[in-house]
Amino acid sequence: MKIQKTISMISRNITTVCLLVCLLLFPHETAGAQDNLEYRIKAAFLYNFAKFVEWPNPDDKGSSAPFVIGVLGDDPFGPELDAIEQKTINGRRISIKRFGTIDDVSVCHLLFFSFEEPEKMKKALRKISNQTILTVGEAEGFAQTGGMIGFVEKENKIRFEINRAAAASAGLTISSKLLKLAVIVEAEEGNALQ
């Protein structure tokens, strides 16, 4: 019984100590916050994609309507993306919107897909295939699934793949500068959206 009590005492103390250690870890969390390099870079890429892709609607140009960057599904960017709202693209204000599902997507110029499931992806891509939206994703084989620009990771650096046919069929023109830097891919058999 005495041993039991001792163990119980020790355990309570261990639990307490552990909790205190955990609490001490917290201040470092603020340091951790700036480590979200991956999505800071990806957010900057999105901004660049918007700059180097031409949307066909000429009356849109110079209009005061904002350029909408959408995030579909769980948002991996957090505040990193909101930071580019202060920027402009060809004189247009940028507006960041977050959509829970593909049915929520309204006015949008560039849409980032956060989810990974290929079936869900295909369905979502098909649903917006008649709209002029630049689709960007980070799932494996996003561009091969019918998306336009897919982030890939190579030797700890972020690269991107472009599916030209997908962009062209939506009426988007990708600048040669972007194409030069990208890995050009084609849609896998059966994945062409039209």
């Binding site: 009590k5 163990i7 119980s8 020790i10 355990s11 309570r12 261990i14 639990t15 307490t16 552990c18 909790l19 250690v21 955990c22 609490l23 870890l25 917290f26 201040p27 470092h28 969390e29 603020t30 340091a31 951790g32 916050a33 700036q34 480590d35 979200n36 390099l37 991956e38 999505y39 800071r40 870079i41 957010a43 900057a44 890429f45 660049n48 180097f52 948002d75 991996p76 957090g78 505040p79 990193e80 909101d82 930071a83 580019i84 920027k87 977050r98 829970g100 599902t101 049915d103 929520d104 079936e119 980070e138 990771e153 700890n156 650096k157 972020i158 500068k177 972007l178 830097l181 058999e189």
Partner: protein, 694 residues
């Protein structure tokens, strides 16, 4: 008295610490905001705070060591993981959770009767298999009274399950006690992913009639809600003779889930279920009067409900906090006992990336279990009411030693329960990915299975030897009673695991896990001294067997699985599991029970699943299984097969015809444990189901 008071004070002190733990994230969040501007100025790396000012070429040149998304990928973990996807669920033809689990390598799944299952991981199977922890959306389904899961009371709308994640081997360092041989996480879809209506109905030979309805909608731009109700009525199974048994089962259940994105940084989920059902059984009970045993049909009433709230807060994309609270109440009412169990659980966890190489998750929890166990002569609890609390904390650091190559995970759970005091359950795991095709992992972990209430203060009288019989020459009936022991300690495991994953082609993958488990303090039933008990009348002699920890042993084995998609329309999944158990009683043990556990889990198991899309709207699925014999139970090895034909005349309509256990009229799979309920056999069956979504 003094120590008791100190205990109280300690208790409050702990609560205070917890309160602090909850407030701290909020406090530190404010700090983040304040320090944000400062930090921007002293970037550790030599690129500007505003990355949009860089050219694409420069962006492509920045090195990133922590890819947060990738880390969450299950295939990339240093553990034996299997995931049942919604597609697997839909194409399996299974109508409930236990039947789905048959596809998982390393799990032993067997039906005892139409409403009872024995499910375990890596051995020690039984109706009250106590080394497998099961959770649904973070809510524990593991009974603290008996240890183990009463599967007839665990259900949800099967179409709304997003996935089921199964980890074989210890998961105790994060999940806590009782995640000894495995953890099952049943995860339901977010409300936003179940918008619209779903109606399904079916009829069949064993699945007599079942139906469900769900409706999900968008209540505002950022909030979704869904509601569901379901009903299932299952036919009784048969005895070995082919005669109908009395184990029919019905269950009605309803529930809801809301997901609300309050802001970019805050999300709230509220969900709940209620259920009510009846599970039939034929039970044989020992009695004090001639003929000293009685056999009769018993209807077990099962009902209960739960409510869960989860708050997720994002500090930044690499730092997030989740706090959840749930209340669960379950009643199991059968002739021998009426059990009411209430659970209140509070859980907190915070994860963040530190110094670019550490992914740290830490958290803590408090659980209060309050029970009322109404006894009978056969199953007597003393005391009948009790409440216990468990405090826990855990920390895990996932360290990237060299990016994309070596990853080391260190972690431990610290837990305090009222029965055995402190339990420390650490783990060390290492993952090596020399290239994208190969990965190798290994681990060493400690886990414990804490005592259940029934092992401490229950007297369980399962046989009466009538006076004048051989073995009882006297005039009083002799009662054989398994008796709880307040000194019963936790069962312990030290586990060693190795795994290898190979993905030679895009469409072909292999996954192998090998384990070597060392157990100590395993449960036995030790012979005690007989005594006479005069009250209540009539007098009887009690022959007690006391629960104790006098067995040790080792188990080893491996699981292999392959996933192959030779053609776009054909997928093939196969698995093989090998298990060997070698248990030994400690010297001085007089236990008659325990050792037979060795022969209650199959040595070999094979599962082969083939899924084909015959035409654009016609699917054919074949699932064959082999399960080795269970010598201790006199259950023979069996081969069986399920088949499903699914037809989509239009996109939103599915009509499926499913045949299950097609190769035999009926076969036994497992025998009852502890309670002498009649064992029945699994019959060949068929059902047709229509699912319409709109």
């Amino acid at each position: 008295m003094g120590t008791r008071n100190t205990g109280r004070i300690n208790h409050y002190f702990l609560l205070l610490i917890w309160a602090a733990a909850f407030l701290f994230p909020i406090h530190s969040f404010c700090l983040t905001q304040l320090q944000a501007s400062e930090q921007k100025q002293d970037e550790p790396n030599n690129f500007p705070a505003d990355l949009t000012e860089l050219s694409i070429e420069d962006l492509m040149d920045i090195e990133v060591t922590t890819f947060s998304r990738k880390a969450q990928k299950l295939s990339n973990t240093a553990a034996a993981v299997f995931v049942i996807t919604q597609e697997d669920i839909r194409r399996s033809g299974a109508v409930n959770i236990p039947e789905l689990l048959r596809m998982v390598p390393g799990l032993q799944v067997a039906r005892i009767d139409a409403n009872k299952w024995a499910i375990s991981s890596r051995g020690f199977n039984g109706r009250f298999a106590n080394k497998l922890l099961v959770l649904m959306d973070g809510r524990s389904l593991y009974s603290p009274i008996f240890s183990g899961v009463l599967w007839d009371a665990q259900d949800t709308l099967i179409e709304d399950i997003d996935r089921i994640e199964i980890i074989r081997g210890p998961g105790a360092s994060t999940w806590g006690a009782n995640a000894v041989n495995g953890v099952i996480n049943i995860i339901t879809k977010k409300a936003a992913n179940t918008r619209g209506g779903l109606v399904s109905a079916g009829v069949g030979t064993e699945e007599k009639s079942f139906g469900s309805i769900r409706y999900g909608m968008n209540v505002s731009e950022d909030a979704d809600v869904r509601m569901y109700a379901k009903y299932a009525d299952r036919d009784e199974a048969v005895y070995a003779s082919g005669e109908d048994a009395s184990d029919d089962w019905n269950l009605s259940q309803g529930g809801f889930r809301t997901d609300w994105r309050i802001s970019n940084k805050n999300a709230l989920t509220v969900q709940g279920d209620i259920f009510n059902g009846d599970s039939g059984q034929e039970i044989t009970l020992a009695a004090l009067d001639p003929p000293y045993s009685k056999t009769f049909d018993d209807q077990v009433g099962i009902y209960g409900g739960n409510l869960l709230t989860r708050w997720m807060h994002t500090y930044s994309a690499t730092s997030a906090m989740t706090t959840s609270v749930y209340y669960d109440r379950a009643v199991h009412n059968e002739f021998v006992a009426r059990l009411t169990v209430e659970t209140m659980d509070l859980d907190f966890q915070h994860q963040f990336i530190f110094a670019n190489r550490h992914e740290i998750v830490w958290g803590g929890g408090y659980r209060l279990v309050r029970d009322r166990l109404e006894s009978s002569f056969n199953v007597a609890f003393d005391p009948e009411k009790e409440h216990t609390d468990i405090f826990s904390a855990f920390i895990q650091d996932d360290i990237i030693i060299s990016p994309n190559q070596w990853r080391l995970t260190l972690g431990s759970k610290f837990e305090h329960n009222d029965y055995t005091g402190a339990e420390i359950q650490p783990t060390a795991r290492i993952l090596w990915t020399p290239n994208p095709t190969n990965s190798i992992w290994g681990s060493v972990s400690r886990a414990v299975r804490t005592p259940a209430r029934a092992e401490r203060n229950t007297r369980f009288s399962n046989a009466v030897i009538p006076p004048g019989q051989p073995g009882n020459p006297g005039t009083l009936p002799m009662v054989v009673s398994a008796t709880g022991n307040e000194g019963f300690d936790s069962e312990e495991l030290l586990a060693f695991e190795l795994g290898y994953r190979l993905e030679p082609l895009d469409k072909l993958s292999f996954d192998t896990a090998v384990f070597y488990n060392l157990y100590d303090n395993l449960r036995t039933a030790e012979t005690g001294t007989a005594y006479t008990e005069p009250q209540p009348i009539p007098d009887r002699i009690i022959i007690p067997f006391y629960v104790d920890n006098k067995m040790n042993g080792k188990t080893y084995g491996f699981e292999f699985m392959a996933n192959w998609r030779p053609l776009q329309w054909w997928r093939f999944q196969t698995s093989y599991s090998y298990l060997k158990m070698d248990l030994e009683l400690d010297s001085g043990s007089t236990s008659f029970a325990g050792l037979s556990t060795e022969d209650e889990s199959p040595c070999h198991q094979v599962s082969l699943r083939s899924s084909t899309d015959l035409t654009k709207n016609l699917e054919l699925d074949i699932w064959a299984r082999f399960v080795d014999r269970l010598p201790a139970q006199d259950v023979d090895r069996y081969v069986t097969m399920d088949a499903r034909l699914g037809w989509h005349p239009i996109q939103k309509l599915e009509i499926s015809l499913v045949g299950r256990n097609l190769l035999e009229n009926h076969h036994p799979e497992f025998k009852p444990e502890h309670l002498d309920t009649a064992s029945t056999e699994v019959e060949r069956s068929a059902y047709v189901k229509v699912t319409w979504s709109f």
